[in-house]
Symmetry: C2
Subunit: 224 residues, 2 copies
DNA sequence: ACTTGATTTAAACAAACGTTTGATTACTTT
DNA sequence: AAAGTAATCAAACGTTTGTTTAAATCAAGT
């Protein structure tokens, strides 16, 4: 059993010292860089400095490793989103106001940026981004149980704040905002800013820019 | 030599009747659905109903097939973007006005939607989206020669229209808009609208929504 | 009809893949 | 110290991968 000390934050809830954790960390990095199929179990176990057979011992198969990695990562991420959204809703409920679009979007975006700030979870958002481009059968379970409910919840909250907006526009504007979030963590986008001054690589500043851009998009006048 | 009739539109500039063209069409579909590495040459030649060896005969290798497929697709797409942008610039130059953000974004987005409307090119945008998530070495040539110059050109035009906007904001807002475009064609996003009424699957309407959302994001007030 | 060059084909290649095995080591429990 | 469980290890399994070969087929040109 895994009994050694585990970091207590919502971001890092695995023990990265034992074999199981080292496999997860290495797999997250390599899956993010090369994709699921292009990453061999041998490259993962080389990176993690463990034996090739330990993957099947601890996880059962490559597919189950991927699913465990996704679950392990997406659950704390989305729980933090729900938690943050609830906190904002409660805050504005007290003031008898509806929660501003900016705050709804912050609850959607900020937990992702918190992940990115963590060394051991830096690659997870890219893995998640890959899931939205794949149509592999074995991922659909994660999509239906974790991603779709999150979207519904945020659509509902947005409906309270923008009650006059048609479902069509709310749906697409939410997903256009999500597209922006995902694209930020794409390797080619990140690569374009590596040689820019450090002051421009402040992730809090980028988060504010993403919120600002998306909120304005949400408030745009509905066409015809 | 490829001598038979070729469709004349900018979207479809390959002959899909010969072996070479059938391989390209099948490869585009399967690469979009499963990724580059996850798609075997045998699955491509099965789909195209040609012999497995014909891939290496016509293209040299799997990597060269991918590069040819990307070049074949991205060149007409970006040329149409340049052409449309030039046309808008000329139009507003005559009126002594700067080209509106909406028109710049239309030149960036509409050619992609034109691709999507073409049966034989329906999958290409997903393939392109995959390229932005990969960091495979052999793709970097396409990125540097096709994608980066396009971004620079649009950044420059946006600079003329929004001269007071800092480079930082212009850069990120452009890429947030691009992220929205890419995310639209992701399988999970497309899957979410399949069971919606047909009236909501009008791609012209969606294009207008994307332009409207992104233009409002660009016009958002710059923070602090 | 013959020749020539361009394609297509079935078959085979070595290499890499995910997975399994059975022996060995490490750690607790008694 | 002995026994028992958990974890690790090197080695090998059968498939599948991209690629190559050499023969067979096709399409003109003379």
């Amino acid at each position: 059993m895994c009994m050694s000390a585990s970091k207590g934050t919502h971001v890092l809830n695995i023990d990265i010292e034992d074999t199981r954790g080292q496999i997860l960390v290495a797999a997250e990095k390599l899956f993010a860089e090369n994709g699921f199929q292009a990453t061999s179990l041998r490259s993962i176990t080389n990176e993690a400095r463990v034996n090739i057979a330990s993957v099947n011992y601890h996880f059962g198969s490559k597919e189950k490793l991927i699913l465990e990695l996704l679950r392990q990562g997406i659950r704390p991420l989305n729980e933090e989103r729900y938690r943050m959204l609830d906190a904002f809703e409660a805050e504005y409920d007290e003031k008898d106001e509806t929660i501003p679009v900016e705050k709804i979007l912050e609850a959607l975006f900020r937990p992702a940026f918190q992940y990115f700030a963590h060394q051991e979870r830096r690659y997870f958002l890219r893995v998640l981004g890959r899931c939205l481009t794949e149509e592999a059968e074995f991922i659909s379970d994660i999509f239906e149980n974790e991603w779709e409910p999150l979207c519904k919840k945020f659509e509902k909250t947005l409906h309270d704040t923008l009650p006059e907006m048609p479902d069509y526009n709310r749906f697409w504007r939410l997903h256009l905002a999500v597209g922006g979030l995902i694209h930020i963590f794409n390797p080619v986008t990140m690569g374009m800013i590596q040689d820019k001054p450090k002051a421009e690589n402040d992730s809090e500043k980028l988060l504010q820019e993403l919120i600002c851009f998306s909120a304005a998009g949400f408030k745009a006048e509905i066409q015809s």
